[in-house]
């Protein structure tokens, strides 16, 4: 039960809270809550009208349940009802519920706004305050739209109509709850208000504070709540502030500006306190409109600062006069440059000096609250001094003051002093003064027990670093890094990297520093950092030999970080020759050192190392045989990773095919990187945000790939580039291996069941990956099979595949010009095909129906991803095997994947067509067939077939409109084959003449045969 139940104890609520607290488990709690929710729901729904008290109690219970973390989806209407209650606490609970559980239901918002409107117009200050609190707590756009216009009026007048223009018809005293009609002018007259007679207090059941109450005059008849008007103004100011923050367009101050600024002069400190916050926010948007606030703020501040510690009565906090107001005024002044008016400026400087002086005075109290309040003003004063950055004397004094705090026994003060000094370090006037504290700060970095303080110390060291102390600071930070908390390691790494680069006089120090970073905290060295060291080494030839020697040594450590391998791999690949003269680092030694790390590294690093190896072949011809051996190994050539495999294949071919000259050109040393702002700086700035792509990385890639490409023959654009991974050497766009001889009868290997008979092939997001592994070695003659086996049986393996069924070719022909249909059907099963082709990628799906006995009429889908690697003649085979009637049935079909599926239609004008046609005039490039029509000769059907075949149909090309002309490109991974075709129907003879010209002889013939069978 509650220790205290003041005012309006709600017994039912207290019992419920007790119950919840007594729940032994989460489940019990949920059970109790659900019971209560059911109870409340039934009460709300019941026929009996609830009285205000019950409604309040239940709404309060709902609120409690919500605040426990449970969802509440009803009760809003009851809460809204409470808003219009005459009883203060009911209204209060209603507003609290609305403030906490804002609902976007527009009907509800209309009702809420209506209630608020009534309360704002009520002239009852307590109700007005409740309404204003609610608006400020919700702060929604809808409320802003409804009330933004009214609140400035309340702010300056204390009510909607304006007090001074019209006497108050009704004034309510909250304490006595007496409303009177009189013309009392609400001008502040605190002195006239006497204490409430004790008897009256007792009569009213007041339990405390009786004698001090200032709200009433005698007799309880003519009572007034003067302060209430002030509290309305206070609430209005902050309410407006909240609305302004939420939707700045809604609170145009315009005509009110001057009167709002004038609130700084208000006699009531609470009003000033609230108004300063509003003005600070508004003046950021319209500094000129609010400029007059400067002198008002200065004089207000001056009065506070110079007041004795007891002058301000209740606004004095632990002997510090109005600390909150002082801090806010100092914040307001930071929105502006130093005052132009000399008198104002003089007065302000006096204030600032007074604050600094007071810091040296002995404390008036030993309480931490006293020192905190005093120092809060001091730190805000120093912020203003730093903001002005124009008073060398004050800056140096501020710095000395902070220096004292650096060794204060209060951790909080040390923390803030370090933080504040950071900004002082950037001022030219105080930079030197800050530097004198370097030893203290280094000591803080070593000895502070709180990581957040150490972090501040590291920040300050970074800020005070210049050429004179860079070596000391960097070495201290490196030392700290060894024991630094994981949370701040990355930031320290970035800072060290930046300082080392910025203040490097000799670059060997820079290289040492970065390698030390990798050694000490390799995991925290981001790409930006090690990219940057490579850029700098590449651009500065005076450090390249040193860098090569140093990384070579660093790599000899038995366990070195992968980032070290990356940097080492890159630098040795570029500059390994500079240390090759030393027998201890001869080329074979360099290679075997790097290769000893290879197998432990990630794919990205291994990819980089492969590039280093090909660079070695160029730099050190004597390593060629060894390296080719490595590249040729099955683990490289058949690596499951696309990038690694491609690099191995390409580099191996490059090294065996290209002449020394070509090699030297392709693998030339990287050109210098263009100078640009360090990307590490950018990284540090956004360190708190999610990692974004490195600008360095992108631009580097652009330049490097164009440079590389400039020196070699243009690469056919058909070469698809695999997904990017770290590629520092920019060799991604290197020329592909010389085109292999055209395979005769090349096979697409389709083996979707290599994982076992039950494995389901799936459509992967990158279809190319699935089949790339079949690129090498050249396919054996035996076609692989798609094996469908619903009943797992000890059947022979997939290599045992029968010849295609006799009708296979005929079935296949049905699909030359279309992509879906039934491929095969007999009394046992039906195989349907649905396929889709895009450039060199195809997607084929078969559905097959299995005999009812096994899998009653069910459909099974197999998804195949197909990539056309190069031109081919025979389609892949599909082998289906199943048990039926105790015997194994097998069926081999040709998968309807023919070369024309990879056609990409090409539109071109007659002129282009004939020009190309003539270019393809070698005898073998043309294939021609004259044949008899097997189907009725219909121009529309023919057109549809030609389009289905895949080429574009070109109108107005052939002089004879009866003829058809088409063009397209067959897309394969290895190359593109341009195709032109011409079909001349002869209706009288029921004959066709089909001519195909392509850039590849077997393709011409094959296409011609395929197409000829269609008519």
């Amino acid at each position: 039960m509650p220790a205290v139940s003041k005012g309006d104890g709600m017994r039912g609520l207290a019992v419920f809270i007790s119950d919840i607290r007594n729940c032994k488990s989460k489940e019990a709690e949920i059970k109790r809550i659900n019971k209560e929710l059911a109870n409340i729901r039934s009460k709300f729904k019941g026929d009996k009208a609830l009285d205000g008290y019950s409604k309040k109690k239940y709404v309060c219970k709902l609120l409690f349940i919500f605040l426990l973390g449970h969802d509440i989806d009803f009760g809003h209407m009851e809460a809204v009802n409470l808003l219009s209650s005459n009883k203060y606490t009911e209204k209060q609970i209603g507003y609290l519920f609305i403030s906490v559980l804002v609902n976007s239901n527009s009907e509800l918002i209309r009702l809420i706004n209506n209630a608020i409107k009534n309360d704002l117009a009520s002239r009852n200050p307590t109700f007005m305050c409740l309404a204003l609190h609610c608006i400020a707590n919700v702060g929604s756009r809808e409320m802003g739209e409804a009330f933004a216009a009214d609140i400035p009026r309340i702010l300056v007048a204390g009510c909607l109509e304006g007090v001074r223009t019209r006497p108050h018809p009704v004034v309510v005293c909250q304490r006595h709850s007496i409303s009177i009609s009189c013309g009392y002018d609400l001008i502040r007259s605190r002195d006239s208000i006497g204490p409430v007679p004790a008897a009256l207090m007792a009569d009213m059941g007041a339990t405390n504070g009786g004698g001090q109450s200032q709200c009433c005059s005698q007799e309880g008849v003519q009572c007034l709540q003067v302060d209430s008007m002030d509290s309305v103004k206070q609430s209005a100011a902050l309410c407006l502030l909240r609305l302004y923050k939420a939707s700045p367009d809604l609170a145009p101050m315009g005509e009110w500006t001057a009167r709002v600024v004038h609130l700084l002069n208000d006699q009531h400190m609470g009003v000033v306190t609230a108004a300063v916050s509003l003005i600070t926010c508004l003046c950021k948007k319209n500094p000129d409109d609010f400029k007059t606030c400067i002198s008002l703020a200065v004089s207000r501040l001056s009065r506070i600062v110079s007041s004795a510690s007891t002058d301000l009565q209740d606004y004095t906090y632990y002997f510090v006069p109005a600390p909150w107001l002082s801090v806010k005024l100092l914040r307001l002044l930071q929105c502006y440059p130093p005052p132009e008016d000399a008198a104002v400026k003089g007065r302000l400087v006096e204030c600032l000096e007074t604050v600094l002086n007071k810091a040296q005075e002995p404390p008036k109290s030993k309480k931490v609250q006293h020192s905190n309040a005093k120092n809060a003003i001091l730190f805000e004063t120093i912020s203003l001094i730093i903001h002005y950055d124009s008073e060398p004397n004050l800056l140096v004094r501020a710095c000395n003051q902070l220096g004292q705090f650096l060794q204060h026994r209060e951790t909080n003060l040390r923390y803030l002093a370090l933080e504040s000094m950071c900004t002082l370090a950037s001022s030219e006037f105080s930079h030197e003064a800050v530097k004198t504290h370097i030893d203290t700060v280094i000591n803080a970095l070593k000895t502070e027990r709180d990581v957040s303080v150490r972090q501040r110390a590291a920040d300050l060291l970074y800020a005070m670093c210049d050429r004179s102390n860079a070596k000391q600071i960097v070495s201290e930070m490196l030392r700290y890094l060894e024991t630094a908390d994981y949370a701040i390691r990355e930031e320290i790494v970035l800072k060290v990297a930046i300082l080392a680069e910025k203040y490097a006089v000799d670059y060997s120090w820079y290289v040492d520093t970065i390698l030390n970073l990798i050694r000490i905290a390799g995991d925290y060295v981001s790409e930006e950092v090690w990219y940057r060291v490579l850029q700098i080494v590449t651009n500065r030839d005076d450090v390249q030999g040193y860098a090569a020697k140093t990384v070579f040594e660093a790599l000899q450590a038995p366990a070195c970080h992968e980032n070290m391998v990356k940097v080492g791999g890159y630098i040795l690949g570029e500059f390994g020759n500079l240390i090759a003269g030393d027998p201890r680092s001869s080329p074979p030694v360099q290679f075997s050192l790097l290769h000893s790390k290879f197998h432990l590294c990630s794919v990205a690093t291994r990819a980089l190392l492969l590039s280093t190896y090909i660079k070695f072949i160029n730099l050190f011809p004597e390593t060629k045989a060894t390296i080719q051996g490595v590249l040729r190994a099955g683990s490289q050539l058949r690596n499951a990773d696309v990038e690694l495999q491609q690099r191995a294949v390409e580099y191996l071919t490059l090294s065996s095919v290209a002449s020394t000259d070509v090699l030297a050109t392709v693998l030339e040393e990287m050109p210098p990187f263009p100078e640009r702002e360090s990307s590490i700086l950018a990284k540090l700035k956004r360190k708190k945000g999610p990692g974004a792509a490195s600008a360095l990385d992108d631009s580097r890639r652009d330049t490097s790939s164009s440079d590389i490409n400039g020196g070699v023959e243009p690469t056919p654009s058909t070469v698809s580039t695999p997904s990017p991974s770290a590629d520092l050497l920019g060799l991604r766009a290197a020329p592909p291996p010389a085109a292999p001889p055209a395979p005769v009868g090349g096979n697409l290997l389709v083996d979707v069941f290599s994982d076992g008979p039950t494995a389901q092939p799936s459509v992967g997001p990158t279809p190319e990956e699935a089949f790339l592994s079949e690129l090498e070695p050249p396919a054996p003659e035996s076609p692989m099979a798609l094996l469908a086996d619903p009943a797992p049986a000890a059947d022979p393996g997939p290599e045992d595949i029968g010849p295609p069924v006799p009708e296979a070719d005929e079935l296949l022909n049905k699909f030359v010009c279309k992509n879906s249909g039934v491929l095969f059907e007999n009394q046992l099963l039906q195989i349907g095909v649905k396929s889709e082709f895009r450039q060199n990628l195809g997607l084929a799906v078969q559905t097959k129906r299995v005999a009812a006995q096994v899998d009653g009429g069910a459909q099974v889908q197999q998804v195949l991803n197909i990539e056309c690697l190069r031109d081919f003649l025979t389609p892949p085979l599909l082998s289906v095997r199943f048990r039926y009637g105790g015997t194994t049935q097998s069926l081999t079909l040709k998968l309807p994947v023919t070369i024309n599926k990879f056609f990409q239609p090409t539109e071109m004008a007659a002129q282009d067509f004939f020009q190309r046609w003539k270019q393809l005039s070698l005898p073998l490039q043309e294939a021609q067939k004259i044949f008899k029509a097997n189907h009725p000769m219909d121009a529309e059907v023919t057109k549809a077939k030609l389009l289905g075949f895949g080429s574009a149909l070109l109108d107005n090309v052939d002089p004879n409109p009866e003829n058809f002309v088409g063009a397209g490109i067959i897309q394969t991974k290895a190359l593109q084959v341009g195709c032109l075709l011409r079909l001349e129907p002869n209706a009288q003879a029921q004959m066709y003449r089909l001519t195909l010209r392509t850039s590849k002889e077997p393709v011409s013939r094959h296409l011609c045969e395929l197409l000829a069978q269609q008519f």
Binding site: L96, S179, G205, N412, L416
Partner: protein
């Protein structure tokens, strides 16, 4: 100030006040994260920490942690004293306040906070003025029955 949280040493949230619009989900996430962070700190550590792009100011009173999130420009020490003043207000109102008071009279804790801070800014720093407003409300409630029956007061019939 962006928000204020009160939670117990066991991590139970006792009061939450948000001065910026956030979804319930986000609020729960922030609460979980901060409660964990603050509870993990040792007693002698400093009362401020950086968190996301905010500064956290916290202080422990008996079994309760008071935790405020302020913006980069805001003053840490004065925020610490905001917390203390709020504790004083609770203490004065409840009479040597303890966690139970805040649990059982949570609505009062919210009302007091609203009188002291509004929209995340200090509204009234005078202890007297804040408590006066609250106590008036308590008294008002007991007397309303008698006082507000007449038509002379601007009251409303229930609209619904």
């Amino acid at each position: 100030m962006q928000f204020m949280l009160l939670f117990s040493r066991q991590g139970k949230l006792r009061l939450q006040k948000w001065y910026v619009p956030l979804s319930d989900k986000e609020k729960k996430k922030i609460t979980r994260e901060l409660v964990q962070t603050v509870l993990a700190r040792k007693p002698k550590m400093c009362s401020f920490l950086e968190w996301r792009d905010l500064k956290i100011v916290y202080k422990r009173y008996a079994s309760l942690y008071f935790c405020c999130a302020i913006e980069d420009q805001d003053n840490e020490l004065i925020t610490l004293e905001i917390i203390h003043r709020y504790v004083e207000l609770l203490d004065k109102y409840f009479g040597s306040v303890c966690e139970l008071d805040i649990i059982f009279n949570f609505e009062k804790a919210y009302f007091i906070l609203d009188e002291f801070l509004l929209g995340g800014e200090v509204q009234e720093t005078s202890k007297k003025n804040v408590l006066k407003a609250i106590e008036q409300a308590d008294l008002l409630q007991e007397k309303t029955e008698n006082m507000y029956h007449s038509k002379s007061f601007i009251g409303y019939k229930k609209a619904y």
